[in-house]
């Protein structure tokens, strides 16, 4: 259950964040990826039992705006720094999935004092020629479930893939999807290696790298790569695909809470 759905401006409105919040306890900020449609999930519900969870939409996605004023990853990181100020947060636990994981890692590497603990779920941001991550930004809708989910026939995958009923809704959904992906594409196009590897050594927050063991979008070899590059990072593989937070919310939330503590 979302307690709060609000918009917060920075830079006199040049960038506006829509932030969903729920729960009580220490602050936790969650960053989403390309294929997160609602911005909230059963996984976040579980975390909200112990933390004050904030889930901002990236600029350009749904109610957030101003992505055209952000040119690169540093611009995005600084915008989030200012958002944390607006939320009255000094340090928070940062968690992010895929693109969101890259944002969380960038934030933790650039502004160390912002990250209490860091949870990276199948993060994007590194590149290996021998194991390229899937081009998730452009995969046609009908090809996505097989790449995103361990079992594309599962209830959670089918619910995710459900198509709108009317032509009007279909067009609106297509435009929302294109806008959502475009807003993140600009920070990772055409290859999601924007120098993060040069900055990862700066991360000092205790870090958990969490991965679905059947992730077909972002191969598990990257998990080892992340663990090697982030000092002292713990690695946990849980049964699931790329959308592990949706596929196994209980397991994932339990693992995250155990790592974060209170």
């Amino acid at each position: 259950m979302i307690d709060d759905d609000r918009t917060l401006d920075i830079r006199e409105g040049a960038v506006r964040f829509r932030v969903l919040s729920a729960g009580r306890g220490p602050h936790l900020v969650s960053f989403h990826s390309f294929h997160e449609r609602g911005g909230w999930s059963p996984f976040l519900d579980r975390l909200a039992a112990r933390y004050t969870v904030h889930a901002p939409f990236h600029p350009g996605v749904q109610g957030s705006s101003g992505v055209e004023t952000l040119d690169d990853v540093l611009d995005l990181v600084l915008a989030y720094d200012e958002l944390l100020d607006r939320l009255g947060i000094g340090a928070a636990h940062l968690i992010g999935h895929f693109f969101g994981g890259m944002v969380a890692a960038e934030l933790a590497a650039t502004l160390r004092q912002r990250a209490a603990k860091l949870v990276l779920v199948s993060p994007l941001g590194l590149w290996r020629d021998d194991a390229p991550s899937q081009d998730l930004l452009i995969l046609p809708q009908e090809d996505l479930p097989a790449v995103l989910f361990r079992d594309p026939a599962s209830e959670v995958a089918r619910r995710w893939a459900a198509a709108p009923q009317t032509e009007e809704e279909t067009l609106a959904a297509q435009i929302e999807s294109i806008q959502r992906r475009a807003s993140m594409a600009k920070f990772v196009w055409p290859i999601p290696d924007k120098g993060l590897q040069k900055r990862l050594h700066r991360i000092t927050a205790p870090t958990l790298v969490l991965w679905g063991d059947a992730d077909r979008a972002n191969p598990v070899v990257y998990a080892e790569e992340w663990q090697r590059r982030v000092k002292g990072a713990a690695l946990l593989l849980v049964p699931g695909g790329h959308m592990v937070l949706h596929e196994a919310p209980d397991t994932a939330a339990a693992a995250v809470m155990e790592f974060l503590g209170t």
Binding site: I138, P140, L171, Q179, S183, A185, W189, P190
Partner: protein, 401 residues
Amino acid sequence: MKICFFHLMPYRFLPEDFENRYRSVWVDVPHHLYDPEKTRGLYHEFLDELEFAEAQGFDGLCVNEHHNNAYGLMPSPNLMAAALTRRTSRAAVIVLGNSLAAYNPPLRVAEEFAMLDLLSRGRLVAGFPVGTSMDMNFAYGIDPTTLRDRYHEAHDLVIQAWTRPEVFAFNGKYTQVRYVNIWPQPLQKPHPPVWIPGGGSVETWEWTAKLDYVYCYLSYYGYKRGKATMDGFWEAIARVGADDNPYRAGFLQLVCVADTDAEAERLYFPHVHYFYQKCLNVWEGFAEAPGYRTVKTLQTGTKPQVGAQAKKIRQSLNWQKYLEQGYVIAGSPRTVREQLTDCIKSLRVGHLMVLLQIGSMPKELTLHNTALFARDVMPHVRDLWPGYKDRWWPSGVPNGA
């Protein structure tokens, strides 16, 4: 009326089962399908066809730019245009064009077009496309969300490099040059005429209209489907309060001429079919990178010219349907004259571009099509827009403008 011969320079030797075995003719078309031996003389054939068109009386010769593409073996149209300048002397050399955002710095375009303008003695038309998503976002790796912004900035830089009298500094967001000072400068003053090839973006119409350029709709789906786009352009022209001079517009149409309607089907169907089934077989994922089209254009509900939906439509096509839907204007000279007149009038185009080499069409047949078109069709549509002055025609063309 100006009639121009457009060449895409397609690879003619894709395997029979190409569209079933390979997902895309563009971006990741495997290059083991490319046989350099078969293409040894291909560029010379293409240039022969273009030069023949001039000899047959066409007003202009059009070349364009594509990358990673088996139907457009022309990553550098400027090379082809340069070759044409040596063997032609009367036709406009129309480069449609250089995708500005792809050049770093874009001054390269200002320089090469200036060279082409001099080489052709002022016969150059400078085309500035945004570029397709396949070319720009996938083959050249440019971020789709900033592509148009880069394009506009590059355009401003090129025009300034051609027109400002002094050496100047350009402090752009994407290009910074401390000393802009291109040598040589183009022959035509203030600069070669600018034509903007577009695919139907709402913003491009307005921008083209405001800057008083020619808008060219390079559609592969014919004049009947092109009508909505050209109407949109003319509405944008009306909005900015410009006149309705038909020379503001260009349109590309596929045309096949034979002695009879039946003969046209026999001669041209396999090549037309090759074009639509193989050359336009673009994987859905490459049809449009997220952010390539603006939300305003997406809201019109128009679909990309290629991709899954377009493929579904194309697969059901036979000769009758290609003709009925206007994708191709084909038949006897009489049939072609009537439909082409309808095309020109309904779209209100002063610069007609015809594609007479289509798909796998070999040289002899291309020349046949070109000669028949020039002899039996062209004279009948030449005088369709009396009383209008073509202000967008290169001044170096003999008896041009």
